[in-house]
Amino acid sequence: MFEEASEVLENMLKWSFPLSLVLFLVLVCPLRAEAAHEFSVYRMQQYDLQGQTYGSRNAILNTEARTVDAEVLSRRCVMVRLADFSYEKYQKALRQSAGAVVIILPQNMSTMPQDIVQQFMELEPELLATETIVPVYFALEDEELLSIYTQTQISSSSQGSSSAAEVLLHTATANGFQMVTSGAQSKAVSDWAITSLEGRLTGAGGEDLPTIVLVAHYDSFGVAPWLSYGADSNGSGVAVLLELARLFSRLYSYKRTHAGYNLLFFLSGGGKFNYQGTKRWLEDNLDHTDSSLLQDNVAFVLCLDTLGNSDNLHLHVSKPPKEGSPQHALLRELETVAAHQHPDLKFSMVHKKINLADDTLAWEHERFGIRRLPAFTLSHLESHRSPARHSIMDMRPHVDLTKLSRNTKVIAEALARVIYNLTEKGVGGDLQIFTEQMQVQEDQLASLVDWLTAQPRAAQLLDKDSSIVNTLEYYLSRYLKDVKRHLVRADKRDPEFVFYDQLKQTMNAYRVKPAIFDLLLAVCIASYLGVLYLAVQNFGLLYGFLRRVTAPRVKQH
């Protein structure tokens, strides 16, 4: 048969060269199989800050899945649900040189009990501090992912317990999952520009007016950049700043209420990365320009950081304000307003010296303090180390709108009392300026916070063309004059910050069978073919049988 086959094929090949070319292309083309499930995964932070590396160094993944209670974890992808996650398990996975870790978060975080959320929030900085070459991913749970997880759990946990025959049968037939990411290895992003925005309201009455600077950083931080929505920290600060811009621009538009103070509003980027935006802005304004509002007469700098919740309000200072200074005036006015108009609010001053030996600065006002500008930060958090400032759990439900609008009102009233010098003029603490048409609009704050928390605002995701930066610029230019952008790029030779890419990937989960299964199948097919061969060989038997069955009928005729 092979001789004639080769002859025939030779004849065919002569005129079927195109066919063989097509065949060759089909054989060579890369394989693109359909996956059991495809889902988005978000990688843990990876960045360098002032030479110190943080986070997960690796992005590629092509390993089998296991859950954390399996015995053998090396070179496997460990899948953990948030409810079962703990630092010990994470350490265990790393010690056994796992291939990757995937943490599954629920779609709706509010279904998680508070203690688990709190525990995770406290773990986030520790996760980032341990530099690891293992890729760590976060995925949002859906039905298929949950079924994949439960199947993997069943197969992982049964490995150590049953008899040899059971184990053999189980490994031969079980469904395993292979997790593969499609992207490339992570590398540093070159020339990333962090954008900051400034705008001003010029005071009435000529030159040399004192300046008040209001600052808020608009970026957010969490263990995974694509999941950091930063509702309270610092979405609330940005919302307060924008609302104050609106209110004061309204006041300044009437001649009678045009005060004798310049108001400078600054939305800084890179705030969570040691306030890079502010640092460079200060350098440019104080060192590189001849005249700037910051060089002359700065009354004080008020930084807004995390104001969306709780009934506490703290004014963080690095040096207690001296009597008679504008800072002291603001402190006094804040106390007055809080005491008279909002007795439920507990206001206090927190004094913390700047510690230059720390890796990162505590609050934003410390940047100004280093350059000898009087500054303080207003926040409802008591300590800069609070986990709420760097957590992916900080989402829209963390912001309480009534408290946010109350805080906005307190700040606005206090500022107004300072710039119009109301206490000197004998105006009592009960007088409310921002009422009726000038009132703090809660709807405005609500829509601002909703918009800010609708997408992640990590500094690595917002380049100068991003929609958030453009929208903020547009919003500021509606109310303020001279709205300018300010870009920060890392220094080439000694970069203060380096960001890495590949932060969001698509992960495919393929259903795989173990190798023994293929062997088992081969044995079964071989036996089937053997039976078939025997059947065909002995086909004559069936034929003869049928002949005998039909023959008697014929014989009767």
Partner: protein
């Protein structure tokens, strides 16, 4: 070991054909070239059928879950062209009845196997993802082989001039069953909501029944003279 899996499916699909070719004695008659010709006729008939279907049958505009019985029935009727093709192949081959049937059926079934199963197996079974459907596809090709042998036998019997009157009806019924087998299978799957393995089993049973009946008639016809 996904290439191994591909090897498994490939051997499950192709070896029965190889076994049948070897053991039916076709190799002694130098029938390879004739089988290839039968395969070429298969290609030609399929092309004509596709052109006909594309030209005259509109696409089904109905909802996703509703099964267009009438439309599918009409489409299955076009499969009568298969019978014509088989008849054409067999009439061009001189020889005994069994020889003609086997040559036509082997060539036809092999061509169908190469055309419709080769590429899905190559692309699908080689991938990382495992799915039972490739094994099922290979089993299906085995069943198709038996089906085409039975169909060729029935067509041969239908065209015999010395077919007794009493056989006309059973032969016609079998012929109809052969052509509409695909349609009947889809009907069963939709109405009874069969799983894939159950559908395969039903298909095997149906083909087995048809082939047994045709074998019975064949034996009676050949040995009654």
């Amino acid at each position: 070991m996904t290439l191994f899996h591909f090897g498994n499916c490939f051997s499950l699909a192709y070896f029965p054909y190889f076994i049948t070719y070897k053991c039916s004695g076709l190799s002694e008659y130098n029938a390879f070239w004739r089988c290839v010709q039968a395969g070429a006729t298969y290609l030609f008939v399929q092309l004509c059928k596709m052109l006909f279907l594309a030209t005259f049958f509109p696409t089904w505009e109905g909802g996703a879950g509703v099964y267009d019985f009438v439309g599918e029935f009409m489409k299955a009727t076009v499969d009568l062209a298969d019978l014509l093709g088989l008849h054409l192949v067999m009439s061009r081959n001189a020889g005994k009845g069994e020889y003609k049937i086997m040559v036509a059926a082997m060539g036809w079934a092999t061509a169908e196997l190469i055309m419709s199963r080769c590429i899905p197996l190559w692309v699908g079974a080689r991938g990382i993802e495992f799915d039972w459907k490739y094994i099922q596809m290979s089993f299906d090709s085995n069943i198709s082989l038996v089906h085409y042998i039975a169909m060729a036998a029935v067509v041969w019997m239908f065209t015999r001039y010395d077919l007794p009157k009493s056989f006309r009806l059973p032969v016609t019924i079998l012929l109809g069953l052969c052509v509409y087998k695909g349609f009947l299978m889809e009907l069963f799957v939709h109405v009874f909501l069969l799983g894939s393995w159950t559908a395969l089993l039903v298909k095997a049973v149906l083909t087995g029944a048809i082939s047994l009946c045709s074998l019975f008639l064949f034996v009676t016809l050949v040995h009654s003279n």
